[in-house]
Amino acid sequence: DDLYCKFSFVYGQDWVPTAGLEEGISQITSKSSVLPTTLVWNLPIDITFKSTNPFGWPQIVLSVYGPDFFGHDVVRGYGAVHVPFVPGRHKRTIAMFVPESTSRLQQLTSWFTGRRPEFTDPKVVAQGEGREVTRVRSQGFVTVCFNVMTKDLHKLGYDVGSAQGPGPQGFHSF
């Protein structure tokens, strides 16, 4: 309960955000009292990218935080997903996970102190490098709804799908 969510976009070197927030933080949401008891943020994010290379297609990285039993703010999950290539409306359910403690004792102490293992940088979940040394536990899901528009992709020889957006706007919302 009382979770909030940080988002950031990870993209390659050839990508430049032209409008919108690259990183942000959501409001705190509470559990809904009626079934289904999901946490709803409904946080709209609006970002526009331009790029010269599809390599490093942007990904959204989400990290969810919330108070634990003792009221410490702890991380509740990390997750990342590529922004869909195909223009249109997409719904993505991201499986969230958190890094595991290295030992039982660590786990216990971290539970007590409320300082659970966290990624040094949430962006590591968007790349594969170094992930082999981590062990994670999955925790819940976040659903992200994307409304994607593309411009001139077809003109440049990239065929990503049927629709061709009229404008350069990429719009994402929870």
Partner: protein, 1640 residues
């Protein structure tokens, strides 16, 4: 009334208006409300009202009517009902139940008579009547109050009573749970005992009233204490509040109760009314009951559950219980009857079941006579309930059965084949394997061997018979004879010459044919004979062993012939033969006779000659003659005349021969017939050994593998070997092939038993001709044999083992396993009747197929196919057409062969799928600039590592991007001397660059190796110490008197950008800044004696200045210093302070910009920039040119004169995070116009301390904001050539030391330039310093040491992190260091230490911490029982107790044979003892337990030095001077820069002197000199001294002095450079810069 939830709902009583006592109503209602406590009955149930009116009114009856308690609730809970029942049964056997059944009223059944039956029904009626009335009234009243809703003034007290009463009531009627409330409420009643009594009475009384409860009974429910349930549940607090009231009421109740018996009804009635009135007055709110949820304890629950739950015990039931009493169990088994075996059921389960059964009624029926549960002998159902899955093949579990799918050829895989582009489709080869016959097998018995022989012979016989050569030849013979006959006859008549000629030919032929026929006939006959013989052997063997193994039987069919004709033919034949032979003989005779005659003639002539000779010789020598003669006689024999062959003889011969090889006339023709119709003796009748053999045979089976191009493609089923050693397969394999078959092979395997499979033999199948198609191919028998040696222990003869048929063991025979496979290979025919044969023209799939066409095998033999050289030779000779696509594969092969290596192109590809991902061809890929850019960026090439936004189009990428990179690539080996001005240094720089690149590559690789801590932030487990400290911290004062700097949060240098990082420089204060000399316009001390004079007065300069006191006082401002910090060409300055010991305490903020905007750790590490902290003097000059203006304005020029500087490399700050301390200001030895004011301090004592170390000092604090996390060293395990033991010991030692003093660095092993771990002591070795230096000062060792230190310091300083872009601290050996002429502290320190050792001093290497370098290496020497600390990078030395020694902490001492770790409490040099012999203070690495193993030093034996090259130095000098002059002019773009040549030459003359004196002890006679020579000039200038590495630092240094910034219009400059060359090309550079302003 309703049962309502939670007791919160009020309900009016839907009752018919019964006239009667209204006062009873509230109670009833209260009851109703109370009754439905929370959770008691969740469903609102209609209370069964109205209740019927009894026929006989009475007091008790009335009460009962008013309170319908006897009526049980319609659906009481089970528990409740049970308890209720119990309660009733215990309390009374009254007819309370009958109250619900009014119809049964009056019947006095089941109740024992009770004496007290005095109550009249009348009285009861009247009471009831009254009660009813009152009830009604009360109800009306209550309803009114209900509507009014007025709160009552004292609800709580009254409620308590009501509650209690209601509780009682409820308990009786419906819910037992309510009952629990009673005891507490009642316990306060003093008259509890009385109640009991009353109950007893009541009991007695009510017994006779059947249908209605008596009044007492009814009343009892209000008051009676059923304290049977000792519940301890607290009732609401409210109840307690009402305690007093309760007591009152209780007493009242008791009273009434008592009265009931003694007083009249009225009395009681009144009281009751009174009682009730209490309630009537209440508002309905009071009727609500608030109480906690009823709760039942677990134990209670268990207790209850126990009553109706049954847990069968697991203990065994005694048999007696299971049996009807007095019946003994009877065991059928004991009586000899068969009882089936029961399946296993665990005893405990059985016991449970038995116990359970026993609980039931008639449980015993379940047990049989033996005391066991009756059951079928085997209760398991025989047929399975699940439908069976039928398997096609036995023995394979259905789920494991494999499903055959036709092989699908992936077209995509085709591209990796060698072959042609056009794929023709599949070809098919049918291999039919019909069977296998063993001609010998180890398991053959003797009979089998014979039988096989017989069969073989018979086969031979059949074959011969089929050919029938004998007959053929006989016919021929006859034909020839007749022909001869004819020709002779005809010839006589016609005389045809041709025929005549041919007669001898015929005859010849006849002879030949006859001979052949005879041979054949003989063969036939012997074959027949052998067949018969073998058969006889078999028969005898069968007789002998008394059983038969083979079904073979030989029949000899006799063909009867006509005796006479046969004889005639025989005779005719013989005669003909005789005749022919005679003829032959005659011919021969004639021939021989002729020969004889000639021979005889010869002999005779010879004889004559001989005789004549003899005669002659007789005359000569008698003896010799004789012997000779004898000899001759011996030699020449007289020819014997040929004998005429007699006819008889010939006949004899012919007949003999005919007897031998020909059937006798009249003898029947024998035709052998071999049948398999014989009976094999059944196994039972065989002897043991034979049985074993037969069983062994049965165990054996065989299968055949088909190998195509020596790959197994299929195999036959395994079939058992039959008793006649035949195996029938009858399988046809269709091989779909792509390649031309190179070989077809069958492998025959034999399996014995289950496991062992042996390869018996291999048989090669010929690849069929293209004409051989399926259907037409005959079965061929391919023989095989194996050389296996098998010995068997039964009747089987084995193979490879000799055996014999004879009893005596003679005539041994050895047979090998052999047999025949009958099979056929043919090409399949496709659907359309097209044979699926690879066309000859398509056979380009492999070399052999190509060869087939041209038949290379024929020319070079098969072995040539593997020999590439031969093949190539052949190909060259055969003049293959290289353009023929058929030959492509071969040509390719030959190309490779002839090019040298005999490699067949292998088609192994590492990234075999790469091709599929290639979206452009490689050429295009390489041509594209964009792709190249992307590739380079991905490779993290320095220039492109952070390249953003690679352009989308090719045309947008300019060639320039690659220029730098390409240039670098090209110039990697080209030495650029432009920047270095010195060939050697250029080479070194190039070398360094290469080392650096390799280190960078290694670092980049290491950077991609992550450990957990890189990715996951995890709190460490707090240790006890940390916890303790944490607690201690809590007790700390909030604002300590001496605050310490807090650790700041560190920032990872990832997400930083320009401007984020700032360099904070806090300039606190300075000491001993040089002061201006009084302006000596008058040339006070022009003479040379000034030096002496100065020295003389140096002790008391105040004396010098005191005389001109007024003027002195005015010009008190000796110096106005300010500090300017320049970093990356950004300049910040403090305000101007005054005096030689100024205090600024100012914080300057300088922005930091990383190169290329790359803020990654390793980029920051290699920032070469230095922070220059320059101390200037601000000089004001009066600029008023006109005296008239003096009154109206102030015009001054501000000049700044450089006094000194401190240089701190950025990397030091970066790694140290902060630099805090007092630094020596690098002040040039000569400052024109300034003098070191040593005596301005008032206290002499203080000064004297300071004077020990001359120079100015500045206190600084430098840090980076935000604090950056310094990169970690490369986590790479370097390999080592050190002994493993030593390395382990080193690790242990380091661990021990670090555990004791975690802050002290312990160094045992370091990494050398090759990237190998080397033990540190190997670096220390006495080395010879340059001889030149020693020669310079031969006598004074102290001076020599200083000189050497200076020499070492002159080698440029270059931190490893800069040179190698990572914190891998590489240690180079001294010769490497001298060659590279660049290194950091370690290298300097090692070299200096080695020199000192070479000079015979006692020297150690100190590993410690110094400012500003941080962790560093110094050198310690012991000179005259005093320890001296040397700073190798500056050449300065300090005493152990020198306060200004930059070395702050000492961690380790290292000598050439040991390492000592500092175990002392303190580690600052002034406070420790350097005596390493004390193990308390210094922990040695090599000790007694681990003696020094005599590690060889890695340093060279001796250093050789290049002699200093004076000419090169001179050239360099002029070049530097020119560059610097250009630069100064460049820095002054707006103003003209004039050079004072005269001054320059003067300055130049000073410089060598400075070098000679090492910048010391040179007084400022320069000033005087200049003044003398230049006249009226205001000169400010200084020499800068630097070690030479390259030009850039020199320019920087000059720039930082800001000499060029002088704004005075008539300024002139002077610049002189002097380069002094030391051995090994170590250069010392002096730059003298001066500005001159002419005084007016």
């Amino acid at each position: 009334m309703y049962w309502c939830e939670g007791g919160a709902v009020r309900s009016s009583v839907p009752r018919p208006s019964v006239p009667g006592r209204a006062h009873a109503q509230p109670r009833a209602r209260a009851l109703a409300l109370r009754g439905c406590g929370p959770g008691a009955f969740p469903l609102p149930l209609p209370f069964p009202l109205p209740f019927p009116l009894p026929a006989r009114p009475g007091r008790a009856e009335a009460a009962a009517a008013a309170f319908p308690f006897p009526q049980p609730p319609p659906f009481p809970s089970r528990r409740g009902r049970r308890r209720l029942r119990c309660r009733r049964a215990a309390a009374e056997r009254s007819s309370t139940m009958s109250a619900a059944r009014p119809g049964a009223a009056g019947a006095e059944r089941e109740l024992p008579p009770v004496p007290s039956t005095s109550r009249t029904s009348f009285a009861e009626l009247s009471v009831r009547q009254r009660m009813r009335d009152k009830l009604k009234a009360a109800r009306i009243k209550a309803e009114i109050t209900l509507s009014q809703e007025d709160p009552s003034p004292q609800p709580r007290l009254l409620k308590g009573i009501r509650e209690r009463k209601a509780g009682v009531r409820l308990d009786k009627t419906s819910d037992n749970d309510k009952f629990r409330e009673m005891p507490e409420g009642e316990s306060h009643l003093p008259s509890k005992v009385k109640f009991r009594d009353s109950v007893k009475k009541l009991k007695q009384k009510s017994t006779f009233q059947n249908d209605l409860p008596s009044e007492e009974e009814a009343y009892n429910f209000f008051t009676f204490n059923f304290d049977a349930v000792p519940e301890k549940i607290k009732v609401g607090a409210r109840k307690k509040n009402g305690l007093n009231e309760e007591e009152e009421v209780g007493e009242e109740c008791v009273e009434t109760h008592e009265d009931e018996q003694e007083e009249d009804e009225m009395d009681e009635d009144v009281r009751l009314v009174k009682d009730d009135d209490l309630f009537i007055g209440q508002t309905d709110e009071d009727l609500l009951v608030m109480k906690p949820v009823d709760w039942e304890s677990y134990t209670e629950q268990l207790k209850r559950e126990k009553e109706f739950l049954f847990v069968p015990s697991m203990s065994a039931v005694p048999t007696s219980e299971k049996m009807p009493s007095n019946v003994q169990p009877r065991y059928l088994e004991d009586e000899g009857l068969y009882t089936g075996e029961r399946p296993f059921v665990s005893q405990s389960n059985q016991n449970i079941l038995e116990n359970r059964i026993l609980r039931q009624d008639q449980g015993k029926e379940w047990f049989g006579d033996d005391g066991k549960i009756l059951a079928l002998p085997n209760p398991i159902k025989q047929p399975p309930t699940r439908p069976p899955i039928f398997s096609l093949e036995e023995g394979i579990a259905p789920e494991l059965e494999t499903v055959y799918r036709k092989a699908i050829k992936m077209t995509s895989t085709n591209q990796y084949f060698v072959g042609p582009g056009d794929f023709q489709g599949l070809f098919q080869l049918d291999i039919d394997i019909s069977g296998l016959i063993f001609t010998h097998h180890p398991c053959f018995s003797r009979e089998h061997v014979l039988a096989a022989k017989l069969a073989q012979l018979y086969d031979q016989y059949l074959a011969r018979k089929q050919k029938n050569l004998t007959k053929l030849l006989t016919d021929k013979l006859h034909a020839l004879r007749s022909a001869v006959q004819y020709s002779i006859e005809g010839g006589g008549g016609d005389g045809v010459p041709v025929a005549q000629q041919s007669i001898p030919e015929y005859k010849m032929e006849i002879r030949q044919t006859r001979r052949l026929r005879d041979a054949e006939q003989e063969k036939d006959r012997t074959l027949l004979k052998t067949i018969i013989k073998v058969w006889k052997q078999i028969k005898s063997l069968r007789d002998f062993q008394r059983f038969t193994n083979t079904p073979m039987k030989l029949y000899l069919r006799k063909e009867e012939v006509d005796q006479k004709s046969d004889e005639k033919a025989y005779e005719a034949e013989i005669q003909a033969e005789i005749k022919e032979l005679l003829e032959e003989c005659m011919e021969e005779y004639e021939k021989k006779m002729e020969e004889y005659k000639t021979e005889l003639q010869d002999w005779k002539s010879w004889k004559k000659a001989q005789k004549s000779k003899k005669k002659k010789k007789k005359k000569d020598t008698h003896v010799d003659e004789e012997s000779e003669d004898y000899e001759f006689g011996e030699e020449r024999v007289k020819p014997i005349p040929p004998k005429m062959a007699s006819t008889l003889e010939i006949e004899q011969q012919v007949r003999e021969k005919a007897d031998n090889c020909r059937r006798k006339p009249g003898e029947p023709i024998l035709v052998p017939e071999l049948t398999l119709s014989g009976n094999v003796t059944p196994t039972e009748q065989c002897p043991r050994a034979e049985v074993v053999r037969r069983e062994d045979v049965k165990k054996r089976s065989a299968f055949i593998k088909v190998l195509f191009n020596s790959k197994e493609v299929s195999r036959t089923v395994t079939r058992p070997i039959s008793s006649d050693f035949r195996v029938h397969f009858g399988q046809i394999f269709n091989l779909q092939i792509i390649n031309w078959p190179e070989s077809l092979k069958l492998q025959i395997y034999e399996t014995t038993g289950i496991s062992s499979t042996t390869l018996l033999a291999e048989a090669f199948l010929p690849v069929p001709e293209t004409a051989v198609l399926t259907g037409s191919a005959p079965l061929e028998e391919i023989e095989f044999s194996s050389d296996q040696r098998v010995m068997l222990d039964h009747e089987g003869v084995g193979s490879g083992v000799s055996f014999s048929f004879e009893a005596d063991g003679s005539n041994k025979l050895t047979l090998m396993t052999s047999g025949k496979v009958s099979s056929s290979v043919s090409w399949a025919v496709g659907e359309k009747g097209i044979p699926l044969i690879p066309q000859v023209s398509q056979q380009s799939t492999g070399v052999p197929s190509t060869l087939k066409n041209i038949d290379a095998i024929a020319s070079i033999g098969t072995s040539g196919l593997t020999d590439m050289k031969k093949l190539a030779k052949w190909a060259a000779e055969a003049k293959l057409d290289p353009n023929d696509p058929n030959n492509a594969a071969l040509m390719q092969l030959i190309m490779i062969t002839t090019s040298g290596e005999a490699h067949v192109p292998d088609f192994f590809r590492l990234e075999q799928l790469q091709q599929e991902f290639n979206f452009v061809s490689d050429e295009e890929f390489n041509r594209s600039k964009r792709f190249r850019l992307l590739q380079l960026r991905n490779q993290e090439v320095a220039e492109f590592r952070n390249y953003k936004q690679v352009p989308l189009h090719e045309r947008e990428i300019s060639e320039k991007i690659f220029q730098d990179y390409e240039k670098r690539m090209q110039e990697r080996d080209v030495i650029d001397s432009k920047n270095y001005l010195d060939a050697h240094r250029a080479v070194v720089a190039n070398y360094l660059q290469k080392v650096r690149e390799s280190v960078i590559n290694r670092f980049l690789i290491a950077k991609h190796h992550f450990v957990l801590s890189d990715l996951v932030n995890e709190e460490e487990i707090p240790s006890l110490g940390i916890l303790g400290l944490g607690l201690f911290k809590l007790a700390e004062p909030k604002r300590p008197l001496r605050p310490r700097r807090k650790e700041r949060k560190k920032v990872t240098a990832q997400n930083l950008s320009d401007g984020d990082i700032k360099l904070l420089v806090n300039i606190v204060r300075a000491y001993d800044i040089p002061v201006r000399k009084p302006v000596m316009s008058k040339l006070q001390q022009p003479s040379k004696s000034s030096r002496a004079f100065k020295e003389m007065f140096a002790a008391s300069p105040s004396a010098q200045s005191s005389p001109n006191s007024p003027d002195w006082a005015l010009n008190q401002v000796l110096v106005r210093p300010f500090v300017e910090v320049s970093f990356q060409r950004t300049v910040c300055r403090t305000t101007t302070a005054e005096g030689p010991s100024p205090c600024w305490n100012e914080e300057l903020e300088l922005p930091f910009k990383a190169p290329n905007g790359d803020y990654s750790t390793h980029s920051l590490q290699s920032v070469k920039d230095e922070v220059f902290i320059n101390v200037f003097d601000e000089v004001l000059h009066d600029a008023v040119e006109d005296d008239r203006e003096r009154g109206s304005g102030i015009h001054t020029h501000i000049e700044r004169h450089w006094l000194g500087c401190v240089k701190i490399p950025f990397t030091t700050i970066y790694f140290q995070a902060r630099i805090d301390g007092t630094f020596k200001v690098n002040i040039p030895p000569v400052l024109l116009g300034y003098s070191k004011e040593k005596n301005m301090g008032m206290e002499r004592g203080y000064d004297s301390v300071r004077n020990l170390s001359e120079g100015s000092y500045i206190t600084l604090f430098i840090t980076i904001e935000p604090q950056l996390i310094p990169g970690e060293s490369v986590r790479e395990k370097f390999d080592s050539q050190e002994d493993e033991k030593l390395l382990q010991a080193a690790e242990k030692y380091e661990a021990e030391c670090t555990s004791k003093f975690p802050s002290r660095q312990c160094l045992t092993t370091v990494i050398d330039l090759d990237g190998k771990t080397v033990f540190i002591t190997r670096y220390i070795k006495p080395l010879n310093p340059p001889q030149e230096l020693l020669d310079a000062v031969p006598d004074r060792s102290q001076t020599a040491a200083e000189l050497v230190a200076r020499y070492v310091a002159l080698i440029p300083f270059l931190p490893d992190s800069v040179s190698f872009a990572g914190i891998c601290d590489l240690w180079s050996t001294s010769d490497q260091f001298l060659y590279l002429l660049a290194g950091d502290e370690e290298e300097h320190a090692v070299l200096l230490c080695n020199y000192f050792l070479g000079m015979g001093k006692k020297a150690w290497l100190i590993i410690g911490n110094a400012i500003p370098e941080g962790p560093t290496a110094y050198v310690l020497t012991l000179e005259q029982s005093q320890y001296v600390i040397w700073n190798p990078s500056t050449g300065c030395f300090y005493g152990q107790y020198d306060t200004f020694c930059p070395l702050q902490n000492v961690y380790c001492l290292i000598s050439s044979d040991n390492i000592w770790f500092n175990l002392q409490e303190y580690d600052s040099p002034g406070r420790i003892n350097f005596d390493v012999s004390k193990p308390k203070h210094w922990k040695p690495f090599f000790s007694r337990s681990l003696p020094f193993p005599g590690l060889r030093s890695i340093q060279p034996e001796e250093l050789t030095y290049e002699h200093s090259d004076k000419a090169a130095a001179l050239e360099l000098q002029s070049r530097i001077e020119k560059i610097l002059k250009d630069k100064i002019m460049e820095w002054r773009p707006t103003r003209p820069t004039r050079w004072n040549r005269y001054c320059t030459s003067t300055l130049r003359s000073f410089l060598p002197l400075l070098e000679q004196n090492q910048g010391k002890d040179v007084e400022d006679d320069h000033q005087a000199e200049l003044q003398k020579q230049l006249g009226d000039y205001r000169v400010s200038g200084f020499p800068i001294h630097m070690p030479y590495s390259e030009v850039r630092p020199l320019i920087e240094a000059v720039h930082s002095t800001r000499v060029h910034t002088i704004d005075v219009s008539n300024v002139e400059f002077a610049l002189a450079v002097y380069v002094h060359a030391y051995p090994q090309n170590v250069l010392s550079v002096w730059i003298y810069v001066a500005s001159l302003v002419q005084n007016r």
